[in-house]
């Protein structure tokens, strides 16, 4: 059934089309493999990290001492040699210096030998933990020494024991799980547990059992066994896999986002494949017509071309895998700093298999339409020199529908989330519809224009030349550019809002519970210009007369209306606030109590201007009317308040004062000491570490995002190339005619450049319009940040698109330019 020599001939001719086709397949493969490997690596390292984060395979947690049944169960497993176990007690305690001169609240961690089973506690002396943490010794965080003016070798009274500070802890594997703590860390050996006499009835202690399972395959089974004997609701048995850390969830979300980009790239590559195959088969039309004329059946012809395309697809797949392996060495470089050191970025058989499957699938889907068209080809084509239009009957539309459905199914499979998958599909649909509509409108409007300059007019004419994929190219370019532009714009906006604004003025230290009477002295002592926020606590009784259902609200997982809210008062907007609705924060001449609501709260609870919110401020009812809705414009870490009242309303209410300031990290301990000495009731929270880590991760993430959007840019270029190839015949024809009619090379170049320029400019402009609108929407409603349109960047993006499109267009037209008229004419006449 296969015609070997025919297939060979098809493969060796039409080289450019086959190259583009293969490149599109390669691109989709590489994207899928790189992404899959990346996510697998992240997942693996996260699991490994999760082990480190929890310092064991199985973690049993309880606020109370473990029940004897559970204790026995663990004991018997240890005896059987199936597991190793270490107990950890985590509690706050007040430690005192010798002679009880100073005291400090610390976060005690009493550990049994063996802790941590995974990861390591890094000490300043670089010695291993078990060597240092012996009976009578403790290891403290630097903050303890700073706050109590001690040094290593000094003693500290912990509970009822006096212990020696043996070392300073630099890093603790399971620390990042808890973002902040009220006091610095102190490690104590479990051998001192009795002597401390801190873990007893009436103590508040987090009890932990860390288990290391000898045979990794047993983890889930053993955990299930232990869960069976654990006291329900009190003793929680987790494995490192099930104990979801915030970081894991964060990465899950990030990977999901990359998945979306990958799917988009796949879509673009698919369009590239389709357009390359169309161009490829166009060249074969005469051949196919002749084959039909001599009696070849549709079945036979289609089969031959399927074999041809399969071979090409296979070549692309193999190349893609090879390139993927090359990327393997490149990926760690890109992801450096984001992933833990121990991560292995490699390509898994699964990733290759999955990529292969998806790649083949994409090829099959996107080649089916052009292949289908072959069926309609009549042998009569041999005798005709001019093109005929394609008839589009029911079978054609059914095929289109099939392609769409299969692709949608593929997206759903890749995303594993039906709702978001459907959002994505409808999003892409809306995007394409908008791009089509806009480009159609623009094309229609320019088609009617009278243009004086001949090259420009000719360029415009070129856009409407028969069989030109102008509309398709503009739509695909617009769609891909919209996404790329949007990602860039969002990135810039997030950058401007967070990363850039961070180093200068984002606060890193919070002071809570300053009393009004202390305010003046506190502000003097702190000596830093700072905004002080009075905090009045109050609850919402009803909204527009509808009472808050307390029982139901507490069932809500997120924020709930039944909790106590922090209210504040001031008569002005903060630097980082803007009014969304209402002319001013408060109005004059309005009866009753006015309140200004933050937009996020208003949106979440459907609050509008003029709504009535009844508060209960510590026993005093306060009926208010919403007179303005505020939004936050800048720093995300600045404190914010849902409700702002006029000063006269709340000034007399019981309140504490809160402030957030930026302090040089090195001075924090000293300032903390000074402030706490003068104002012992004030609590200090130091967020420096957290904020820095977040800022760094944010920066890194945008790098990775850009790396993956690069793939979609490449896909866009390939689409462009393949569309040039698809219109190759008509372009060559025109060029030859122009030459015969006496046009110089410069004229032809001008027309080509202008034509591609118009194409690029149109797509870029429409894409910019769409992406500005989209980014604004996303910034405003999802990220909740102020939006900057970045006009310079927008211009730059348009110019780079223009340059890229013109360059790609010219490069892929070189052979057309070089075409000798006589040869083209001879071929036309002789055929």
């Amino acid at each position: 059934m296969f015609h070997k020599s025919f297939i060979r001939r098809q493969l060796t001719r039409s080289r450019q089309q086959t190259v583009v086709f293969v490149l599109c397949v390669v691109l989709s493969m590489v994207t899928l493999i790189a992404l899959d490997s990346f996510s697998r690596s992240v997942n693996e390292s996260m699991l490994m990290d999760a082990r480190t984060l929890h310092a064991g395979d199985i973690i049993i947690h309880s606020h109370y001492d473990f029940s004897p049944t559970l204790d026995d169960a663990v004991g018997s497993l240890v005896k059987q040699g199936l597991i190793q176990a270490a107990r950890v007690y985590d509690l706050y305690s007040v430690v005192r210096t010798a002679g009880d001169k100073d005291s400090l609240l610390v976060d005690l961690k009493i550990v049994e030998p063996g802790y941590p089973f995974y990861g390591a506690v890094e000490l300043k002396s670089q010695r291993p933990l078990e060597k240092v943490l012996t009976q009578g010794n403790i290891i403290v965080e630097q903050g303890v020494l700073d706050r109590l003016h001690l040094q290593a070798g000094d003693t500290l009274n912990v509970g009822e024991a006096t212990l020696m500070i043996a070392d300073v802890v630099l890093h603790e594997p399971d620390r990042p799980v808890n973002f902040f703590s009220l006091g610095p860390r102190v490690f104590v050996s479990s051998r001192d547990l009795e002597a401390l006499n801190l873990v007893q009835k009436g103590s508040r202690v987090d009890h932990l059992y860390l288990l290391k399972v000898q045979d990794p395959g047993n983890v889930d089974r053993l955990a299930a066994e232990l869960r069976d004997v654990a006291t329900p609701d009190r003793e929680r048995v987790d494995t490192y896999r099930t104990a979801g850390s915030r970081i894991k969830r964060f990465f899950d979300n990030f990977l999901f986002f990359l998945d979306l980009i990958a799917i988009f790239t796949l879509l673009l590559a698919g369009i590239g494949i389709q357009s390359a195959v169309t161009a490829f088969l166009q060249e074969k039309e005469k051949t196919v017509a002749i084959m039909k004329a001599v009696g070849a059946t549709n079945r036979f012809i289609t089969l031959q071309f399927i074999v041809v395309l399969c071979l090409l697809g296979l070549a692309g797949t193999v190349l893609g895998v090879l390139l993927g392996f090359f990327l393997q060495n490149f990926l760690p470089f890109v992801f450096q700093g984001l992933l833990p050191q121990n991560i292995r970025t490699g390509i898994s058989g699964w990733a290759v298999l999955k990529g292969f499957f998806l790649g083949v699938f994409a090829v099959a889907i996107f080649t089916s339409l052009p292949l289908y068209r072959l069926r309609d080809l009549k042998p009569a084509v041999i005798f005709r020199k001019e093109e005929t239009g394609n008839r589009r009957g029911l079978p054609f539309y059914l095929t289109v529908l099939g392609v769409v459905l299969v692709f949608a199914a593929m997206i759903l499979w890749q995303l594993r989330d039906v709702r978001i998958g459907l959002y994505f599909i409808s999003g892409v649909g809306v995007l394409i519809a908008l791009a089509t509509l806009l480009s159609e409108a623009v094309l229609l409007s320019i088609r009617k224009r009278k243009i004086k300059s001949l090259p420009l007019r000719q360029a415009f004419k070129g856009l409407f030349r028969p069989r030109n994929a102008t509309k398709a190219v503009i739509v695909t370019l617009t769609a891909s550019l919209s996404v790329i532009f949007s990602i860039t714009l969002l990135d810039k906006n997030l950058d401007a809002n967070f990363i850039q604004s961070y180093p200068e003025d984002a606060p890193n230290v919070f002071f809570l519970d300053i009393q009004t009477s202390q305010l003046e002295a506190f502000s003097r002592e702190l000596g830093i210009q700072a905004e002080y926020y009075p905090v009045v606590r109050g609850r919402i009784r009803s909204i527009n007369g509808e009472p808050v259902d307390v029982a139901r609200e507490w069932q809500r997982r997120g924020d709930n209306l039944a909790r106590e809210f922090n209210l504040t008062y001031r008569d002005y907007l903060l630097k980082d606030e803007a009014l969304l609705q209402g002319e001013s924060l408060f109005r004059t001449g309005v009866e009753g109590v006015q309140v200004s609501v933050l937009d996020t709260f208003a949106e979440a609870n459907g609050i509008k201007m003029g709504d009535r919110i009844a508060f209960n401020i510590q026993g005093v009812p306060l009926d208010t009317t919403v007179v303005s809705i505020r939004t936050r414009t800048k720093e995300f870490i600045q404190p914010f308040f849902y409700f702002v009242f006029q000063e006269k309303v709340l000034k007399a209410a019981p309140q504490t004062v809160f402030t957030a300031v930026r302090l040089p990290p090195r001075e924090i301990s000293a300032i903390q000491n000074r402030m706490v000495a003068s104002f012992p009731n004030v609590s200090v929270i130091d967020l420096t570490e957290t904020v820095q880590v977040f800022a760094r991760i944010l920066g890194k993430l945008s790098g990775i995002t850009r790396f993956f959007t690069l793939f979609s840019i490449i896909a866009g270029v390939l689409i462009l190339v393949s569309s040039v190839l698809a219109t190759r015949f008509v372009r060559t024809q025109e060029t030859v005619y122009f030459k015969i009619l006496g046009a110089r090379r410069s004229f032809i170049l001008k027309v080509l450049t202008l034509e591609n320029g118009i194409l690029g400019l149109l797509s870029a402009l429409i894409a910019l319009l769409l992406s500005q609108a989209g980014s604004w929407t996303i910034s405003r409603w999802i990220f909740d940040i102020a939006y900057h349109p970045f006009p310079l960047w927008s211009l730059l993006m348009i110019f780079s698109t223009l340059a890229l499109v013109v360059a790609v267009g010219l490069v892929s037209s070189i052979s057309i330019l070089r075409q000798k008229p006589v040869i083209f004419l001879r071929e036309q006449t002789e055929e």
Partner: protein, 241 residues
């Protein structure tokens, strides 16, 4: 006076490992305003001769002089203005630019030389060939005869000294073909252009000033068309070499 002169034109092609000689030492001189017909069987080299004479292709050896100027070694860029103003082409398969309307196709050569009267001239020509009402149509909306008439208008808009026509009636039925040819000849007379025509048709050949008969890349015979009085096109035939 001689407007176009070919001296010892030879053209060889490589086809695989074979070398094929399509034209072998053809010399011909065309006088201003002459109507020259080139005839010959398929593969005799008549189209090749036309492309060489019109500067679309370069001869392997030999020279071509246009108005006494040797254009043999002209580069494409030097040939462009010649093609634009001095030469007009009419092809068997029309070769109209598909994205341009009839009038735009006609105007194009004039516009290339920044002729401000391009539209007016194109209108005059289209009216002359009876296609004014079809001016806004695209080539694919026109019949074969109409397309060829547009092509003729395009060939003539810059008042070229020479018009090359390669089987202009080959793709048309006989009545249409006759009409087109009559039109071409009329216009040629009106504008005093030189017409070099490749055709199979004996009937057309008879109306010419002179006939060159090609065989295997050589001029097998010269003949006189009806204008020279001879009823038989090959009455004065002789071998060149």
């Amino acid at each position: 006076m001689t407007i176009l002169e070919a001296q010892q034109l030879t053209k060889t092609y490589r086809l695989g490992d074979r070398e094929i000689c399509v034209l072998d030492g053809v010399s011909v001189a065309v006088a201003e305003g002459e109507f020259l017909v080139i005839q010959g069987s398929s593969g005799s080299g008549k189209t090749t001769l036309l492309t060489l004479l019109s500067g679309l292709d370069k001869p392997t050896s030999g020279r071509i002089l246009l108005e006494g100027i040797d254009i043999t070694d002209f580069k494409e860029e030097e040939l462009a203005p010649l093609r634009n103003t001095s030469i007009g082409f009419v092809f068997q398969s029309f070769h109209l630019v598909p994205s341009l309307t009839a009038i735009e196709n006609v105007m194009f050569p004039a516009e290339l030389r920044h002729d401000h009267d391009a539209e007016e001239k194109a209108n005059i020509l289209l009216r002359r060939v009876g296609l004014l009402d079809r001016a806004g149509n695209f080539p694919h909306q026109l019949s074969g005869g109409e397309r060829q008439r547009v092509a003729i208008c395009r060939a003539l808009i810059n008042n070229p000294k020479i018009v090359f026509a390669d089987e202009p009636t080959g793709n048309l039925d006989s009545s249409n073909g006759k009409a087109i040819l009559d039109l071409l000849l009329e216009l040629q007379k009106e504008r005093r252009a030189t017409l070099i025509l490749v055709t199979h048709s004996q009937e057309i050949a008879r109306t010419s000033d002179r006939i060159i008969f090609l065989k295997d890349g050589r001029i097998a015979a010269h003949g006189l068309g009806s204008h020279q009085g001879g009823r038989d096109g090959f009455s004065e035939q002789h071998h060149v070499s």
